[in-house]
């Protein structure tokens, strides 16, 4: 007997990015300088989607590059910086010129905002915000009293992203995503945001068989029904790292930072790596096979 076929969720990165509309509020997976869906972000820039808002936790190059490409109107986060690589140059420059709206939240509260969305709450009850300028400058945070003890709390608005974008290890063609069992913040937050939004777009290092998924069912923390599309993008987090798979590309980070020194050099950078690259494969060829190989890690930890 022949049965109807399951739908495949694999689409080209180019088509995946068409799910993002001008003015959208997006959550971008990863954490700080780790495991950012950079191939996806580059394609957003290539398609010149503008007026976006990033809702984040700790942000770095994935937002800085969008800022430098004039794609962001605002960012809500606890941090924009490059950790060991210093301050985020475009973020700083645009913020100081008043060209981007920055809404500050504490780090844990940024995570809570996604937890609220995950659980279908419109707010999260936060203690410890009283007296800060975080509250004073943000009309969307409402003071309220604990309904039981009358202690002072603040209701922080849920994240409510329109679209979530994450980069993951692997997926089958139906959209079941493999997360490593040894996780850190980047993967934990990816899982969280996939549960906070009905439009989760995923890039993966590898497409694996459904049998591979069935061999590792305990690694499926993002099941197919939380995923809208899968796009293949090897080294899709470059120049950020993917712990256990590849290190961050220090050389490229420095090239980026040098390019961010002024408008002209940044335009040149964007042009070279994004607008004049046909696709992710083309980008990877520009980075170079030998150089990419040098970033690969050895990982025996599952």
């Amino acid at each position: 007997m022949s049965f109807p076929k399951r739908s495949k969720k694999i689409i080209n990165l180019e088509d995946a990015v068409k799910n993002i509309n001008k003015g959208d509020t997006i959550a971008i997976g990863g954490f700080a300088i780790y495991q950012r869906p950079m191939a996806f972000v580059r394609e957003i820039i290539k398609q010149k989607i503008k007026n976006l808002t990033v809702i984040g936790v700790t942000n770095s190059i994935e937002s800085d590059i969008l800022i430098g490409a004039n794609s962001l109107k605002s960012i809500e986060t606890s941090y924009v910086g490059f950790e060991k690589y210093g301050l985020a140059p475009n973020f700083r420059n645009y913020a100081e010129k008043g060209k981007i709206k920055v809404i500050d939240y504490p780090e844990l509260i940024c995570i809570d905002r996604f937890r609220a969305s995950q659980e279908n709450l419109d707010f999260w009850p936060a203690a410890g915000l009283g007296g800060t300028d975080i509250v004073k400058l943000n009309k969307n945070i409402k003071k309220f009293l604990c309904p039981i003890t009358k202690k002072i709390l603040h209701a922080v608005p849920a994240a409510k992203p329109n679209v979530a974008i994450i980069h993951a290890l692997a997926a089958d063609e139906f959209g079941n995503i493999i997360s490593p069992s040894y996780k850190n913040m980047a993967q934990s937050l990816d899982i969280l945001i996939s549960r906070s939004c009905e439009n989760t777009l995923v890039t993966v290092e590898k497409i694996v068989s459904n049998n591979f998924i069935k061999k590792h069912p305990n690694l499926i923390e993002i099941p197919n029904h939380r995923v809208k599309s899968i796009s293949l993008a090897p080294f899709g987090a470059h120049p950020t790292s993917m712990l256990g798979k590849y290190s961050d590309d220090e050389e490229h980070w420095n090239e980026y930072i040098r390019a961010s020194d002024n408008n002209e050099s940044f335009k040149k950078y964007i042009n070279k790596y994004i607008h004049s690259s046909k696709n992710n494969d083309d980008y990877l060829n520009k980075i170079g096979g030998a150089h990419l190989s040098s970033l690969l890690q050895v990982d025996t930890q599952k």
Binding site: M1, F3, P4, R6, R195, I213, E221, P223, H225
Partner: protein, 272 residues
């Protein structure tokens, strides 16, 4: 042409037509023969049948944590949530952090299956006690996950293994899950913005709801059940049933899929 089928097959086939492609169906795990059959085994067969007919992208969540199990690898109906039987069944995902990290509350679950000791005309369900709560005549296990089934799932199929007067009552002794008091409007007033009971399935009939009036009604009566038998087994007035249709019989190809592909050893629906 008369096709031979069992009551379980009748229910499974009718249920299967309720599910849309791409939905996510949730079963918990009950124990004891009749409850397990009605809230676990029949729903699994119904969902698997839907996958093999009109809804290939339906996701099955089994025992609250096993996604899309390979049912053909079952050697018996599991009777424990966390033992080797479920840990080791081939599947497409194990929700190990279930349920507190998961987005059930966001609407991940399209529909679920639940049961209780009483259900009433408004569709309220009771799994807690008969009589006064603090010194009940009968104390049952408690609310368990039913309040969530009735408020955060997209819709609930109430599966009642016994159709008896005392179980189908004017008003439940304890509201574990809320039906339609004053209809959908009434739910909204209580803060219940989604979900609620969709069908109530018994060995004698299928009920659905007038969701505006907030009243249960017979949608179809199973073949070979008399109107008198149905009313006599029900604790509330069913009204005029003269125009009620029979529950639709399974088609030959549906039975073939169940018997040959989904449940060849009769582990789920039995060989009755």
């Amino acid at each position: 042409m008369n096709i031979d089928y069992t009551l379980n097959e009748l229910i499974a086939v009718n249920l299967s037509k309720e599910f849309k492609n791409g939905e996510v169906g949730f079963t918990g795990l009950a124990t004891g023969g009749p409850a397990a059959l009605y809230i676990t085994a029949i729903p699994l067969v119904a969902m698997e049948l839907a996958r093999r007919t009109h809804a290939p992208d339906l996701n099955i969540i089994f025992a609250g944590w096993i996604q899309n199990p390979d049912l053909s690898k079952l050697t018996r109906l599991p009777n424990a949530e966390y033992d080797e039987t479920l840990r080791d069944i081939p599947c497409e995902g194990q929700y190990l952090t279930y349920p507190y990290q998961y987005s059930f509350r966001r609407g991940s679950i399209s529909f679920g299956f639940g049961s209780g000791i009483q259900i009433d005309k408004q569709g309220n369900i009771n799994s807690v006690c008969i009589g006064n709560h603090d010194k009940p005549r009968v104390r049952m296990v408690g609310p368990i996950f039913l309040p969530e089934h009735f408020s955060m799932f997209g819709r609930e199929y109430v599966m009642m293994p016994h159709h008896e007067k005392r179980a189908f009552t004017n008003k439940v002794d304890y509201i574990t899950g809320v039906g339609y008091p004053d209809g959908k409007k009434g739910r909204k007033k209580l803060g219940l913005t989604r979900g609620g009971p969709e069908l109530v399935i018994t060995p004698k009939c299928i009920f659905d709801f007038d969701k505006i009036k907030g009243k249960i009604k017979v949608r179809s009566i199973h073949p070979n059940v008399s109107l008198k038998d149905l009313q006599d087994s029900t604790g509330f007035e069913l009204g005029n049933l003269n125009n009620i249709k029979n529950t639709k019989s399974p088609q030959k190809h549906e039975l073939k899929i169940i018997r040959e592909d989904i449940d060849p050893h009769g582990i789920l629906l039995g060989n009755n």
